[in-house]
């Protein structure tokens, strides 16, 4: 609550200052408001211009007075950006390959091996060498690496299994190619998003060349939805006799996967000889996937020899559709 200045401690014989303040309070300047208003309106337009000028001058002065500090800051920032963008080659383990071998006559061990879910669902190859041993190579993705010791102990528990080995598959960050040529596996993953046909062709050819595959024919075609399909033809001589081949190309939301498992029948190609298409399809279903339909199993005959081409529609772990998956059996 406001108290009057004259209400406290005033002596009777002293004058009352409030009387004088009353005189001041009575003054009236309302009549001068209009000219002041006009003046303020005029001044406001000048002030708005002055404001922008002042901001510019302030900025200019700031840059002038801090030019060395700003220069240092800019140089440090440029150095940091350049350092962050400097291409470095770094090896990173993306998966492991587990290898082991077993005598082909040890049917009990072989059936036990094939009974493991992690082998059935995994990506593996089996080759029979001249000594009558089946060599297995199983790719263990990065997310399953912590289960490796468990897998290893399960395998070692089976009698007749020798040489269980782990071999890491590394990729370089500079060039996102990871490959494992162990046992003929060539695997690469290319991000083709925003790449032109020409650029993608160059990239695929370059990566194949790095893997020792030359003269690969890369072509493009579009499906009914207008999506880009990649056709890759590699002559048989370019690949190892029993080598595997797996290229995944991510193109926006499309994932094209070209995978070839080249298998020579242990009986020297006798497996499909004299067999009808239906019989061959049954063999394929038994060997590869019982769920395969007749349309997915294409049989290519060359005289007496037969080659099987399997087409599958899959989904990757991100839910993207893998539109082609070729497995060739010879």
């Amino acid at each position: 609550m406001k108290q009057s200045a004259s209400s406290t401690g005033q002596k009777e014989n002293n004058p009352d200052p409030d009387k004088y303040f009353d005189e001041l309070r009575k003054e009236n300047y309302d009549g001068t408001f209009q000219p002041v208003e006009i003046w303020l309106r005029k001044s406001s337009s000048i002030l708005s211009n002055k404001n922008s000028e002042r901001k510019f001058i302030n900025m200019k002065n700031y840059f002038n007075s801090h030019k060395f500090r700003l220069a240092y800051t800019f140089l440090i920032l440029a150095f940091v950006v350049a350092a962050c963008n400097y291409p470095v080659t770094q090896q990173e383990t993306v998966s492991d390959v587990m290898t082991w071998s077993v005598n082909k006559d040890n049917t009990e061990a072989v059936s036990k091996i094939h009974s493991f879910d992690w082998i059935k669902n995994g990506e593996y190859t089996e080759n029979i060498n001249g000594e009558g041993k089946i060599s297995y190579s199983l790719v263990i993705p990065k997310e399953n690496v912590d289960r490796v010791s468990d897998y290893k102990s399960q395998l070692e528990a089976i009698s007749g299994i020798n040489d269980v080995k782990m071999i890491p598959i590394n990729e370089t960050i500079k060039r996102p190619v990871y490959s494992a040529l162990l046992n003929g596996i060539f695997k690469t993953d290319i991000n083709a998003t925003n790449m032109s046909d020409e650029e993608l062709k160059e990239e695929v050819s370059r990566q194949l060349k790095n893997a020792g595959i030359e003269n690969a024919q890369v072509d493009f075609e579009k499906n009914a939805d207008g999506k880009r399909l990649i056709r890759l033809d590699i002559s048989g001589e370019q690949l190892k006799k029993e080598g595997d081949f797996d290229i995944t190309i991510r193109d926006g939301n499309n994932v094209s996967r070209m995978k070839e498992l080249r298998k020579e029948s242990p009986d020297g190609g006798e497996k499909f000889k004299g067999k009808t298409d239906s019989e061959i399809r049954d063999i394929v279903r038994k060997d590869v996937d019982p769920a395969l339909t007749d349309d997915q199993i294409e049989i290519i005959r060359d005289g007496e020899n037969a080659m099987v081409r399997i087409k599958k529609i899959n989904k990757d772990n991100k839910g993207n559709t893998i539109i082609e998956d070729d497995i060739k059996l010879k």
């Binding site: 406001k2 406290t8 002596k11 309070r25 009236n28």
Partner: protein, 201 residues
Amino acid sequence: MLSETSQFLELLRPEYNDALKYCKALCAKRSIDDAEDVLQQSLLKSLENFDRLNDRSKFRSWFFKIITREFFNSVRKDFWRKFIPLDNAMQVPEMPEVFDRLENDNNKIILSRALSRISSKERSAILLFEIGGFSIEEIRDIQNEKSTSAIKSRLSRAREKLRKIITNEEGNISNKKNKNSIIIGDLHNETVSLIHGTEGK
């Protein structure tokens, strides 16, 4: 900016009269021109910074704070102007004259003299209280003080000083009125005595 100006003027209108009285009395020690300068600078500064006033309900105390600050700035500038030339940054047309140059009212003259003889801070505090009608807390904020007790004692001192000065001023004026003829007689006697003194030497 134009709509801001209109808003500013709308809020200024009810405070205008008190602001001018405060400004004039604040510059009691100085000239009317100085009071108009302080008022002009205050109006321009407040118009320029009006967009930064978020709570428009606090316009009155905000505007009086600007006047107070501009007054103290002008006092400081007066000091430095003795040594170095200072230029005015804002190149805007001169504000029209708002104050009367001639003051005939004795009470106003006495108050003006009394106010001119107390310190700037005391003058500002007592005027904010008496003319602006601000509370102790508001005056504390306007004067950028930390404690209300400082404002209370400042007001108390200012009142006491004013009372004494006004008493003296009233006495002087009544003496002047009563002794108007005697003054002439005294001058005559003083002249005669001066002449006699000179002859004696």
